[in-house]
């Protein structure tokens, strides 16, 4: 669990670098709320509070928009801990990924707070060549405001990269793909000076933490590979066969937090299947649901719904795989004898 916290540090840094110190405060509020809820239930069960609650708190906060209102953070974190973890018996017994369930709940309850406006990020070291996804009329206020957009320090000197409504936009990479507008170039997606949820804009920083999880085997390798490879392959295939709205394999995989979900969310060892074949199926299921929901549903948050759906089928996948093995095991000696 400590390793997961360590692996989120690059993303946490990215959040502060691009969107200001408010992000850190959001993470702190989410963790504090989660801790209080967990403590109340653990006291009743007479169990110690585990550090897993901080993993949930951090992961939950990192997939919120930088301008998220405080009450939404608190309600979401409380829902995540109470209704998707504690009612099932606490640590290690949850069926749904708590962070994603919490986010899904506030996504449905407070749609405006979570989807309507996105803070423009600080430019940081990398000036983005495409200005397509920036609000043009916001430019004067943007440069005249507290943000010096060309500073190498990014938003490190500010509380929030969106001090006023001028620095807000409604466009995110996934939204752009959905409406058929040009997608930000790959270098921008890698660096992460784009609009989006605070901790998951930069594919490079996610990969840094994610590869650490991958190499130290903290996260399950089968799931990561199954999710990412299936998604890449399906996107490449459908771009070739169908064309728009599909825009090639790389942009949807690198953008909009897909990698963050694949490395940090899908690999939650409690809510994922326990069998090898089950994990492969689980990963493929996530990728397929993400693809369908992102491209065809009215919501852009494909990965979130896909993970919840895959979570709910994880136990039955495990059941099916073990039943299959049971059936095969007695059959094989029978045929040879």
């Amino acid at each position: 669990m400590r390793k997961v916290v360590l692996a989120t540090l690059p993303c946490l840094f990215g959040a502060v670098y691009y969107f200001g110190w408010r992000c850190l405060a959001v993470v702190a509020v989410a963790c504090a709320t989660a801790l209080v809820c967990e403590y109340l239930f653990c006291r009743g069960r007479k169990e110690p509070v585990t550090e897993a609650v901080f993993v949930t708190g951090i992961l939950f906060a990192l997939i919120l928009p930088p301008t998220v209102p405080w009450h939404v953070v608190i309600i979401g974190a409380a829902f995540a801990i109470v209704f998707s973890k504690e009612v099932f018996g606490g640590f290690g017994r949850n069926i749904f990924n708590p962070a994603m369930a919490g986010r899904c709940f506030i996504y449905i309850c407070f749609p405006l707070a979570l989807t309507a406006s996105w803070a423009l990020p600080a430019e940081g070291l990398w000036r983005s060549p495409s200005a397509e996804y920036k609000k043009p009329d916001a430019a004067p206020a943007y440069t005249a405001g507290r943000l010096d957009s060309s500073s190498a320090w990014g938003a490190l000197g500010t509380w929030s990269s969106a001090p006023g409504p001028d620095a807000l936009t409604s466009a995110t990479p996934m939204g752009l793909i959905k409406t058929g507008k040009p997608v930000p170039p790959l270098t921008t997606l890698l660096c992460g000076n784009i609009t989006g949820v605070m901790g998951a804009t930069s594919a490079l920083l996610i990969l840094l933490g994610g590869l650490y999880l991958f190499i130290t085997k903290t996260a399950n390798r089968t799931i990561i590979l199954a999710v990412i490879l299936t998604y890449l392959a399906l996107n490449a295939l459908l771009t070739w066969l169908v064309g728009p709205p599909f825009v090639g394999a790389l942009p949807p995989t690198l953008g909009a937090g897909f990698l963050f979900g694949a490395f940090f969310m899908a690999t939650d060892p409690v809510s994922a299947p326990k069998t090898g074949l089950g994990r492969v199926l689980y990963g493929m299921l996530i990728a397929i649901f993400t693809l369908v929901i992102r491209n065809y549903s009215i919501f852009p948050a494909g990965f979130m719904f896909a993970l919840l759906l895959a979570n709910m089928f994880a136990p039955i996948i495990d059941y099916g795989v073990t039943e299959l093995k049971k059936k095969r095991a007695p059959a094989n000696p029978g045929t040879t004898a």
Partner: protein, 200 residues
């Protein structure tokens, strides 16, 4: 409208009934048996199969009854009574046939067949079929899709509850309480399919 177009739209209606408009998780019909018979995967699969079969057959029968009998006679307001009679009669008939020709299947299904008579999802499917004015081929797709969606939800729920059996659920929430919370979280996931396919 040619036949291939008809089959295409039936397929769309079928998938929409499974995912976008899952009868259990978006309209919350058929909750009673969903809550009581989802403790084990095996029984859930049994009941689910029975629901798929009965739902497909009764929506077809009810379609014929509605459009060929009630509408020409202009007594559409009798549809509630008629649909319930058709469903009950069909289930009774099937029960007798199975008992006569396949006693093992009859005993393995046990209580499930009579239970289906009072499953509101079956009647709900018949009424939706009327409201949305499905054609005959679309009705076949809709009946099968609704049944399959119901089965998918109850089997997934049974898997979850089997896994939960060893957990220490808070005392007041054991049984229906935790099942309703899980159903709510499942419905939260199914919201994601909104707009994927439109079932009219």
């Amino acid at each position: 409208m040619n036949l291939s177009h008809e089959f295409g739209s039936a397929l769309v209606v079928c998938f929409a009934a499974i995912f976008t408009g899952n009868i259990l998780l978006t309209t919350f019909l058929g909750m009673c048996s969903f809550l009581s018979v989802s403790r084990e995967v095996k029984t859930a699969v049994g009941l689910g199969t029975a629901v798929v079969f009965v739902m497909t057959c009764t929506t077809i029968l009810n379609w014929a009854m509605y459009w060929l009998v009630l509408v020409p006679l202009q007594i559409e307001f009798y549809r509630f009574i008629l649909f319930i009679i058709v469903i009950a009669a069909f289930v009774q008939f099937i029960e007798m046939v199975i008992e006569r020709y396949s006693p093992p299947l009859y005993y393995s299904l046990g209580i499930f067949l009579p239970l289906i008579t009072v499953n509101c999802a079956i009647l709900g499917a018949a009424l939706f079929m009327v409201i949305r004015k499905y054609t005959f081929i679309e009705t076949i797709g809709y009946g099968f899709g609704s049944g399959a969606g119901w089965m998918l939800a109850i089997v997934a729920m049974a898997g979850i509850r089997q896994k939960l059996a060893v957990n220490r659920i808070p005392q007041g929430l054991q049984g229906p309480g935790i099942t309703l919370i899980i159903a709510g979280l499942m419905a939260l996931g199914f919201i994601g399919f909104t707009g994927v396919l439109q079932a009219q």
